[in-house]
Subunit: 212 residues, 2 copies
């Protein structure tokens, strides 16, 4: 599976394409950082970003897009721009029918370093090692985009298996309920008195509070 | 001028089209609230929202789009969805070459009620009165979208005049500087000694600290 990881932003947007092989093997296909000019309007910056993402989707044809889920942390202005950029990336992918997943920074850190509290440098180091790169991708947004793609490749099969198991459990519960309802109905048909077919159990022979 | 006001959101997105006439007269063209299903992914919701906005732009052909500028206030999750929705609306408009402006909630409230701290009901009441509507638009997102459009219609001429004045001031400053540079150059050409053409003023005749 090929995944485009996106660390969204208006000033710098990290884009990284990673191929997942058998087991946990991963291969870097392309990585870069898209910048949009600061002297144009937000709408024009979003347009430039969406055009860049469209080009990457055309060029690399990923099967899924993984975007960093933004949290309201430090600078409110920056966070809003980041959320807008993330929304635009998700829209561009959804228009092509591609699945889009959002992963939190701590999910990404935990996936590539084993710790949800790893710093930028640790993430960069692990991404460089995992993808067998000659140098650490720079700036950090580029490394983060690759980490997002890796995170998605490794988490998605687990998530899919979990969803499948949940669906199976639900189906089993439904089938069980249906069998139960059918059995009750059959008993009631055989014994219309209404005690469900159980012999000798009525309100009179087993009053509340008296057992045995 | 016709403006589409947008109160962005994934659960409810207010859309309101207002025509501005001479002075401060305004007329409601259309208003509605777009809802996207909660049981699909964020990317699919953004896609549905963008399709709805595209339809409104096709139908009403506004000359500008005014979007509420989101601030990180209460629920972080909601705010992020709102920012993503706002980014998508801005992108859709920018793709058509339409100008997009973001207005803060207090700018909108101040424009329609005179107070930046007005509550939802006051905004709704004023929007109903200003647009001469039979009933207050409901839910509040619908009224907010109309208020955004009105705010844009009334603020935009001021903003444009201000920008024009600033550009004129900049041009005057530039011309003044150019004249000054030309005058200095002319003096230097007439008197290559380097005292700028002022008679009798040299480092020797006017040493630092001694005047007159």
């Amino acid at each position: 599976m090929r995944v485009l990881g996106v660390d969204p932003g208006l000033t710098r947007c990290g884009l990284g394409v990673v191929d997942g092989g058998s087991g946990r093997t991963v291969r870097c296909v392309d990585v870069d950082v898209v910048r949009t000019p600061v002297d144009v309007t937000v709408a024009e910056r979003l347009l430039e970003l969406s055009n860049a993402v469209e080009k990457w989707l055309d060029r690399h044809k990923p099967q899924a897009v993984a975007v960093e889920r933004v949290f309201s942390q430090h600078n409110v202005r920056t966070v809003m721009g980041t959320a807008q950029a993330g929304g635009v990336v998700a829209l561009v992918a959804a228009r092509r029918g591609l699945p889009v997943a959002f992963h939190t920074p701590s999910e990404v850190k935990a996936a590539v370093t084993g710790s949800g509290r790893a710093d930028k440098k640790q993430v960069g180091t692990m991404v460089t090692r995992l993808l067998d790169l000659e140098a650490m991708p720079s700036p950090a947004d580029a490394a983060d985009a690759l980490a997002l793609a890796i995170c998605h490749l490794w988490r998605e099969p687990m998530r899919a298996r979990l969803a499948e198991a949940e669906a199976r459990a639900k189906e089993l519960a439904r089938a069980h309920k249906a069998r139960l309802a059918a059995a009750t109905k059959a008993r009631q048909a055989a014994n219309p008195a209404g005690n469900g077919g159980r012999p000798g159990v009525t309100a009179a022979t087993n009053p509340k509070g008296k057992r045995g």
